[in-house]
């Protein structure tokens, strides 16, 4: 293994000693540093200096994050009180944390809290308008951090973007710098194993330039060189890789290099995706199991370049970002396989069936649940049988089932959360309704729970938007209109929020406009759009697109027909399309008309008059053709098809069909959603 000096972390032991001394003096310390600055190494060194420190590591913040933090602290605190507080009985998170935290700090020399990205220290900017699971997680994580951050003998380790809340005192700040490794690091055979020759080639290509580089950049460089060789990719010849690494002193160019590499080598993205499912360091054996199905070139790159750590292996945050960019069925399978592998590993470490029994090994228990929920199949069902005890875990399980399309099961989980944890939990009420709605069953229960969530949290824009769109969908436009007015009154009575930023427009107005458009409620769509400041409409491309759709829908309402596919904004309806030929057989274009086929035998068209349209006085024309026309490309035209009808001097009409797309299963599935309750009527 490389010595710390080799990778530029030689300052870490001294830093650790200083921090241990401060904690011994009942001080608080905040350590901040970017990826690759040695934060994990610092924790190891801290424990070497002071073995009686308790260490709590959080996962990246998602729904189960607050439960992770709470249960790990309860587990470290131990005792009957901690067991009692492990189960969510409706008390606040802070109330459940308070006494066990005191006990923990009384039993050990200090608490080291390693916060992953996404954790915020205050609820100030989250508010109760939390839209989705991340916002909810942030809100509840903020509650816990609020209780923890005021304590003495605390070491908080974060990334460079995190900020310490001003109201929580002034800790000693320790800044860690990005590590720098010398180029000679590339010559260490013990580091690069079978890729040693690639590392040497990269070293040679770098020459004397960029003598010191970030260790992660060097790892990515070797990975690119190695895969360039094995996959015969000229874009990743050593000199090209070396140039990419030289171009920036930060990690940005290395990230770009990795992204380009992942695009060229899909197997690499799949492997990264598998790796990045692990939220904590994993043993080497588990790493091997995760990538067992990848070919040997990829396995070598993963082992020697994309994971690091002296005992367990970890994946750097920047690599996770690249992994997260992939989509598609094959990647989804890889994702589930990785979660299954990780689930089985953590299950072997903790098979507790209820939260109280899991406390001593809370992290393992929580990771087992996290991965089981995402693995799907039997493992997901195994998690369903666990007595979860915390609302975050019910929420997380419910959302996982929902994402798997198991809406009734998801609804059952949210119902259990209400019955066992807190009957006044707006999140559970809302998602119980949402999942029943997705399943297209029990509309009365859907209505009851949507209403209840809103009663409990009136200023939640997301709850309002779902409720209003549900009413539109169920053919209750008047009630939707009333609910809409009420939501605006509640959320932004003076219009200040809409002026401040586009958050509310994006999460409320956008959905209401879309639902109203889809259900022919043009007045509501127009009214919702008109309530937005012009700059918001212009700034948000999706809202601007909806505004264009409203204009088209109003034209259809007024004049009876669409004359172009909805991809053509109304303002371009009367402009001759570029691809329409200006002459045919040497004869110039005399007239053209956009429109669509209303009947095929004989051919009948409804067309728009571009000249009248340009004058702002749209005119709809009818054309019946039994003879004297031809269809461009000898294509067939179908009823409803959009066309351009063109006439060239002295010639016949020429009809230019605009091809539609075939109906995909996804499109059909979206359409079925609109009548989902009816499809279940028996």
């Amino acid at each position: 293994m490389p010595a710390l000096d080799d990778v530029g972390l030689q300052e870490i032991p001294a830093r650790a000693e200083e921090i241990a001394r401060l904690v011994g003096e009942r001080e608080s310390v905040w350590v901040r540093g970017p990826a690759g600055s040695g934060r994990s190494t610092l924790v190891d060194e801290l424990l070497r200096c002071e073995p009686e420190l308790a260490v709590v590591r959080t996962p990246p913040l998602v729904l189960d994050g607050p439960a992770h933090l709470l249960l790990q602290i309860l587990g470290a605190a131990g005792g009957e009180q901690a067991k009692r507080h492990a189960r969510d009985s409706g008390a606040s998170l802070r109330a459940r944390l308070k006494a066990p935290l005191e006990r923990l700090l009384g039993r050990c020399k200090g608490l080291v809290l390693v916060l992953s990205p996404g954790w915020v220290a205050s609820t100030d900017h989250v508010g109760s308008n939390a839209r989705d699971e991340l916002a909810h997680a942030r809100q509840r994580a903020g509650e816990l951090l609020h209780e923890i951050l005021g304590k003495a003998r605390l070491v908080v380790i974060t990334d460079a973007a995190w900020t310490w809340p001003r109201r929580k005192g002034s800790p000693h700040v320790v800044e860690l710098s990005p590590a720098r490794a010398p180029q000679t690091f590339l010559d260490r055979e013990d580091v690069w194993g079978p890729l040693a020759e690639d590392a040497r080639r990269l070293h040679a290509a770098l020459g004397g330039r960029a003598a010191w580089l970030h260790p992660i950049a060097l790892r990515i460089g070797v990975a690119a060189t190695a895969l360039g060789r094995t996959h015969q990719l000229r874009a990743f010849l050593p000199r090209k890789v070396a140039r990419a690494l030289e171009e920036s002193e930060t990690l940005a160019s290395a990230h770009l290099l990795l992204e380009t590499l992942a695009q060229s080598v899909p197997d690499l993205r799949r492997a990264l995706l598998r790796l990045s499912r692990a939220r904590f360091d994993i043993p080497r054996g588990l790493l091997d199991a995760l990538i067992a199905s990848e070919d040997s070139a990829i396995r070598d790159v993963v082992r020697h370049c994309l994971t690091y750590g002296e005992t367990d292996r970890r994946v750097a945050v920047p690599l996770r970002r690249v992994a997260g960019a992939g989509r598609g069925p094959e990647l989804e399978t890889a994702r589930q396989e990785a979660h299954a592998c990780l689930h089985d590993h953590y299950l072997s470490l903790d098979g507790a069936s209820r939260v109280e029994d899991a406390l001593p090994r809370a992290l393992n228990w929580l990771e087992r649940l996290h991965h089981g929920m995402r693995a799907g199949g039997e493992r997901l069902d195994e998690v369903r049988r666990v007595d979860l005890g915390c609302r975050e875990l019910y929420w997380s399980l419910g959302r996982s089932l929902s994402r798997a399309g198991r809406f009734r099961d998801a609804a059952e989980v949210f119902g259990r959360c209400l019955a066992r944890i807190d009957a006044q939990d707006p999140y559970a009420h809302h998602y119980l309704a949402f999942n029943l709605d997705q399943a297209g069953v029990e509309p009365q229960a859907v209505e009851r729970h949507y209403r209840r969530a809103l009663e409990l949290e009136r200023d939640n824009a997301w709850w309002s938007s779902r409720w209003i769109t549900w009413l539109i969908d169920r053919g209750r436009p008047r009630e939707a209109g009333i609910a809409w007015e009420s939501a605006l009154e509640q959320l932004d009575p003076s219009g200040v929020r809409l002026q401040a930023d586009s958050w509310l427009a994006y999460h409320l107005h956008r959905w209401v406009i879309r639902a109203a458009l889809e259900h022919d409620q043009l007045a509501l769509a127009r009214s919702a759009l008109e309530s937005l400041p012009r700059n918001v409409v212009e700034q948000e491309p999706e809202i601007a697109a909806l505004a264009a759709r409203i204009e088209i829908a109003e034209f259809i309402d007024r004049h009876g027909h669409a004359l172009h596919p909805d991809t053509v904004p109304l303002e371009h309806w009367w402009t001759r399309p570029q691809h329409l030929p200006l002459e045919d057989g040497g004869e110039p274009l005399e007239a053209w008309y956009p429109g669509r086929v209303t009947r095929t035998e004989p051919l009948e068209l409804v067309l728009g008059d571009p000249e009248a349209g340009q004058r702002g006085e749209p005119r709809i024309l009818g054309l019946q053709l039994a003879a004297g026309f031809r269809i461009a490309g000898d294509l067939a035209v179908g009823e409803g098809q959009f066309v351009y009808a063109a006439r060239y001097r002295g010639g016949d009409w020429i009809i230019f069909p605009i091809p539609g797309e075939p109906v995909s299963e996804e499109t059909l599935s979206d359409a079925r959603r609109m009548v989902r309750y009816l499809l279940r009527t028996r």
Binding site: P443, Q444, R474, G475, R476, P477, E479, L517, E518, H519, D520, Q521, L522, A523, R549, A553, E554, I556, D557, R558, H559, G560, H561, A562, P565, D566, T567, Y593, R599, E604, V606, L607, P618, R619, I620, L621, G622, L623, Q624, L625, E639, G640, Q641, F642, W653, G660, E661, V663, S664, T667, L668, A671, R672, M674, V675, Y677, L678, L679, T681, R682
Partner: protein
């Protein structure tokens, strides 16, 4: 002539609205109770004539007995859910043939998907139909007693002791034949032929018979007979030809003509009322041998709520009375000077202006007619 401030509830009042695209009918039943069939609104504004009418004339202690959707076409549903939720009709009906909403929903989903694949801005209308079906389903679930699946022979209960309201078409097996099958096939079938599902409603009040013909055709445009059409209905229910009022089926199209339904008048007075359809080439057609001309061979006048033409062409016709030839001249004059292109531009009137109301006693006599400001009487000459 404006509607009276109050209705004489000893009579049966028929209100037919047709602003240009869409058709809504209200019947104030003698004694008490209302029947609402389909719905319409004026494009560009939110005015809902049937809601306004009920707001004006529905007594405090009176109910809407039934709200019926004759068929799931997008020119018949506007305002349907408003009546549904504001007036809570005792019965809510839709043609299903007795097999529920699912087959219709499957076809509708397929239709929506096909429109989406065409990148079709008109799919909002099909979405509107979906919302109406959802609303009907919702109502049937919440108030099971409101469920009324329409087909031949179904009696619509009313609060009027003097009146019988009965569905006369289509027969259950005809509905099943139309809506069963592969969803994509049914979707295509219904897109072209949803009118063939249209319910026909008969209202009997003493000797007075009112027939609401929906959009039911007799023939397809190909000339082929429609199995569920008037050719099926009239042999089964020949008495429908002996009516005092007929809401003319399918906006007077030639394809909806049937000699026994459009019978020669046997009573002293009767009312044939029609609404326009301002899409494509539009209805009614005014050319010789087309729908209006055929009708006027058998009835001296046709009451039109409006025309599918620019407002300035049809507005303020003297006394609202116009001969077919004059009307045809106006239509031709409104069209383009291009030798092949026809101007189909139509402007809607306001919903309240394009209306006919007719009151009947129980002896089969028309007591009063009230035209909206833009309504017409079309006569042969």
């Amino acid at each position: 002539m404006p509607l009276p401030a109050a209705l004489d509830r000893r009579l049966l009042h028929l209100f037919v609205y047709g602003p240009g695209y869409g058709e809504g009918i209200a019947v104030a039943l003698p004694g008490a109770g209302w029947l609402i069939v389909d719905g319409c609104r004026t494009p560009g504004d939110a005015a809902l004539p049937l809601v306004d009418l009920l707001d004006t004339f529905l007594e405090t202690d009176e109910a809407v007995d039934a709200l019926l959707l004759t068929h799931p076409h997008d020119d018949h549903f506007h305002g349907f859910t408003d009546v549904l939720h504001e007036f809570l009709p005792h019965r809510v009906g839709l043609v299903t043939g007795g097999i529920g909403l699912e087959p219709l929903a499957r076809a509708l989903a397929e239709q929506l998907a096909q429109q989406d694949a065409a990148r079709d801005a008109e799919r909002g209308r099909a979405g509107g139909v979906a919302a109406v079906l959802n609303a009907i389903d919702d109502t049937w679930l919440r108030r099971p007693e409101s469920r009324l699946e329409l087909y031949d022979g179904v009696v619509v209960p009313t609060s009027s002791p003097h009146t019988w309201v009965t569905v006369r078409a289509p027969a259950p097996h005809e509905v099943v034949e139309l809506v069963n099958g592969h969803a994509a096939v049914v979707a295509k079938r219904l897109r072209q032929r949803a009118n063939e599902l249209s319910a026909v409603i008969e209202i009997e009040f003493g000797a007075t018979r009112v027939v609401l013909g929906g959009d039911l055709p007799t023939l397809r445009s190909s000339g082929q007979a429609v199995p569920s059409g008037w050719g099926s209905v009239m042999p089964r229910r020949p008495e429908l030809g002996a009516h005092c009022a007929l809401k003319l089926p399918h906006h007077t199209s030639l394809e909806a003509f049937h000699p026994e339904l459009h019978s020669t008048r046997e009573v002293s007075d009767r009312a044939w009322v029609a609404t326009p359809w301002s899409r494509g080439r539009g209805l009614p057609r005014t050319e010789p041998q087309q729908g209006l001309a055929r009708l006027l061979e058998r009835e001296p006048e046709v009451l039109l709520t409006g025309l599918p033409l620019a407002t300035e062409v049809q507005a303020r016709l003297p006394g609202g009375r116009v001969s077919l030839s004059d009307l045809h001249r106006r239509v031709v004059a409104s069209r383009t000077n291009d030798w092949t292109l026809i101007d189909l531009t139509a402007e809607p009137g306001t919903a309240g202006e394009r209306m006919w109301a007719v009151a009947f006693d129980d002896a089969g006599a028309i007591v009063q007619r009230w035209p909206g400001d833009q309504a017409l009487r079309v006569v042969a000459s």
